[in-house]
């Protein structure tokens, strides 16, 4: 069968064309990142005084500055802390809700689902000020949990949406058989159902990580010192003597690393994951 789809005479030039397209596209994606990495390995005088495509005077000082200074690296720890908290909270509340949406119809279910989605559509700029006042008034300002809860605004609806797609793919007969066998709902849900949608949970976690990690407006508004995210710490490089380009670039590169690691671990699920369980 496969010979039919891969006739070499017509297939060969097409493959080359695709390779060129992909090559150009990846070049477009990677050039700005390449430039950032190269800049982080240069000294400031090299950055400002000469234009070089790669560092002539290779230095790791910029990274050392960040990794040895507590006010720098706690930024990373803060970001990690609220991202993980947000992932746990979002998954815990979204799992049962997604199950309900995928299995049962009940009063107002469609409206409720759309209303949840509307929160994904809410511009963070609209919520910045009210969040600031809300969390200040309950004494949560400048804590990790405040940012984690604020990010639930867009992450919980997203989690419900993605998980619902994956759960729809699990045959309903499994539920019915389990109930006949005398499983209670919690035992069935934790013991049987959750492992079945494990890949869906992984994909969801990936998206939760992504949107919580990249967000800055809310996390910056809700923190000042103790829970300040790394992205906000980066403004420190602007000093009286101008911008410390090398350190800024190094800090930028270090914010890409966690994302790159996560991508590496989920690389086999990315394609399916991006379809949110809907193919």
């Amino acid at each position: 069968m496969s010979e039919l789809t891969q006739s070499t005479t017509r297939g060969l030039p097409k493959v080359n064309g695709s390779a060129v397209v992909m090559g150009l596209y990846l070049l477009f994606l990677l050039l700005p990142i390449y430039w950032l990495v190269m800049m982080s390995l240069k000294t400031n005088s090299e950055i400002l005084n000469s234009f070089t495509l790669w560092p002539r005077d290779l230095t790791f000082d910029n990274y050392l500055t960040i990794l040895t200074d507590a006010s720098w690296y706690t930024g990373y720890l803060n970001s990690m802390a609220y991202v993980v908290m947000n992932m746990v909270i979002s998954l815990l509340v979204a799992l049962p809700a997604a199950y309900a949406f995928s299995r049962y119809s009940f009063m107002g279910d469609k409206h409720l689902f759309f209303w949840l989605l509307t929160n994904r559509m809410a511009p963070p700029a609209v919520f910045a000020l009210p969040f600031f006042q809300l969390y200040s008034s309950v004494g949560l300002f400048d804590t990790h949990i405040a940012v984690a809860l604020a990010h639930c605004l867009f992450n919980v609806p997203l989690a419900v949406w993605i998980l619902e797609g994956f759960m729809r793919g699990v045959p309903k007969e499994i539920d019915e058989t389990a109930y006949i066998d005398g499983y209670s709902f919690p035992r069935f849900f934790i013991g049987i159902f959750t492992p079945l949608v494990a890949s869906g949970i992984g994909v969801t976690a990936f998206f939760l990580f992504m949107f919580s990690w990249v967000e800055l407006l809310l996390s910056r508004t809700l923190t000042s010192v103790n829970a300040k995210p790394i992205a906000a710490t980066m403004t420190r490089t602007v000093g009286a003597a101008g911008i410390d380009w090398g350190v800024l670039a190094a800090a930028g590169v270090l914010t890409i690393v966690p994302g790159a690691l996560v991508i590496y671990f989920v690389r086999n699920y990315i394609a399916k994951g991006f379809a949110l369980g809907r193919v």
């Binding site: 496969s2 994606l29 909270i89 609209v126 006042q133 994302g259 990315i270 379809a275 193919v279």
Partner: protein
């Protein structure tokens, strides 16, 4: 799938309801509250009715920001959707190179948005950036902090760089799900490449494409961090999009009433458009199911 009617399913939704009520409804009520009141300081508020809404509807500032916002979203959708599909069609189907493409393409999606701004801010600078330096060396006058067109092009190229991969990955996932038999049938019918795309691939990826359009519309309509880092909304107000203007008004000038009225109208516009997309999407889902 046909679903069982079960009102007790509400109990499974309750945790989400409580959480969202805390993180969305309460803040939203604060906004509504501000939008109908006026203050002379000291936390004393007066009923202002629909004054602020009237003022905002008559203010040129909001309409200009809205115009810029719609232009921006329209341009990036017009570029990213076709380009994303085109890239997806050219991606390797499987094997080592498919993984390489997937990993590299996902990379921009996981970079914090202000770092995306920083990357392009550096990249475009005439003195130290590769792009700016090259353009200057070619004799092209390019300065995104002073020139209207340069600022717009930079912001648009940055968004294309940042998000086209999302569209491409979604389309790619849709393409992967098409069985080989479809292509073989097309081959037997001697369908042209364009016809294969138009009648096999496009209908099959329509569902995920709607997700892509919905996500891209929503996110581009609330864009804040990236253009703010690169251009700061300038030169002048030329790249001041709705969110940038709103933050300026609410957190910068502390004009709570107008900002709240602005917020509500802003939210309503997004809701309206998203509702249209969502309805189209669920209808597509249903048609697929039958």
């Amino acid at each position: 799938m046909n679903k069982t009617v079960n009102q007790k399913a509400w109990f499974l939704i309750l945790p989400v309801l409580f959480l969202v009520a805390f993180s969305a409804v309460i803040p939203l009520m604060t906004v509504v509250n501000y939008s109908v009141q006026d203050t002379f300081g000291n936390n004393k508020f007066f009923w202002a009715g629909l004054e602020w809404f009237k003022e905002m509807l008559e203010s040129e500032r909001m309409w200009n920001a809205l115009g810029r916002q719609i232009t921006f979203s329209a341009i990036i959708l017009a570029i990213e959707i076709p380009l994303g599909i085109f890239v997806a069609l050219n991606m390797p189907k499987k094997g080592f190179w498919a993984s390489v493409c997937l990993v590299l393409m996902s990379l921009p999606l996981l970079i914090p948005w202000n770092v995306v701004g920083t990357i392009w801010q550096i990249f475009g600078r005439v003195d130290i950036g590769l792009l700016g330096y090259t353009l200057a060396a070619l004799g092209i006058d390019y300065n995104y902090t002073q020139d209207f067109y340069a600022a717009w092009i930079t912001v648009i190229v940055m968004d294309v760089w940042h998000w086209t991969s999302l569209v491409a990955l979604l389309a790619y996932a849709g393409l992967q799900s098409i069985p080989d038999a479809y292509y073989q049938a097309a081959k037997i019918d001697q369908a042209s490449r364009w016809k294969v795309f138009r009648f096999i691939e496009l209908p099959k990826i329509m569902g995920v494409l709607m997700i892509a359009i919905l996500l891209r519309f929503m996110d581009s309509f609330m864009i804040y961090t990236e253009p703010f880092v690169v251009t700061g909304g300038g030169p002048g107000n030329s790249t001041t999009f709705l969110s940038i203007d709103l933050v300026k008004m609410a957190l910068g000038q502390f004009d709570l009433g107008p900002a709240a009225a602005f917020s509500i109208m802003y939210y309503l516009v997004i809701l309206l458009v998203s509702y249209v997309f969502y309805t189209v999407m669920t209808n597509l889902d249903k048609r697929e199911g039958n």
